[in-house]
Symmetry: C2
Subunit: 130 residues, 2 copies
């Protein structure tokens, strides 16, 4: 197992479209997949306003994970960002997020709450079979 | 988005080799990928004895997530199991876990602590683009 330098972690954050948000819910740890984009170094995803996820992550410390794993080759990488989740309320940023580069949820349903995770710690690791 | 019935969630748990454990670490929520197997309805993975993951999850509520997501088709499924993580100390079970059906960590390093997650809640969802 090889630890990845921060620069490579930052680069890999752009490599995927879906990550997993881990947070403390009302009934303990939870983890859910979300579509996301990286913009100005932060992670953005959309969720239902007033929903469970929105309420649980607002102004809370969360962990965000992406990975690319090949079961057959038994190799891959993962990157974890730890940071505080905030609702986005800056109009300029909202305009950008509603534009073509913003995150597009795949699931049907109103998901009009943009959430930002600004990474405080970014760690990554790679496993390669020899 | 379609919610999956418990039977299908249980079946899908067998579909993958790597999942992600979300837990409350000393510095807040964390999430890490692990190799796992499902045996007698529980999830088992191996980690380093005395390591950060082992200490953080022992006798704690955790969430375990697997998914299969196609970025291109923008579709896929995810299953989340919530339950308590325990160290395995039953000799018969350890013999089984050390056998050919036990979880095999890909990363190098001593990972001799088997951890069991017995799902208390199992939820799943599927997203299909039309």
């Amino acid at each position: 197992m090889q630890h990845l330098p921060p620069d490579e972690c930052r680069e890999l954050l752009h490599a995927k479209a879906v990550g997993r948000v881990a947070f403390s819910g009302p009934e303990g740890p939870q983890v859910l997949p979300v579509n996301y984009v990286v913009l100005h170094g932060s992670i953005y995803f959309r969720t239902a306003s007033g929903g469970t996820l929105a309420n649980a992550v607002r102004d809370s410390r969360v962990a965000f994970e992406i990975d690319d794993i090949d079961d057959f080759l038994q190799s891959g990488w993962s990157v974890v960002a730890v940071g505080d989740a905030e609702f986005v309320d800056d109009p300029e940023l909202l305009a950008e997020l509603w534009g073509e580069h913003g995150p597009k949820p795949w699931a049907i349903g109103l998901r009009n709450q943009f959430v930002r995770i600004t990474p405080l710690r970014l760690t990554g690791r790679r496993v390669l079979q020899t």
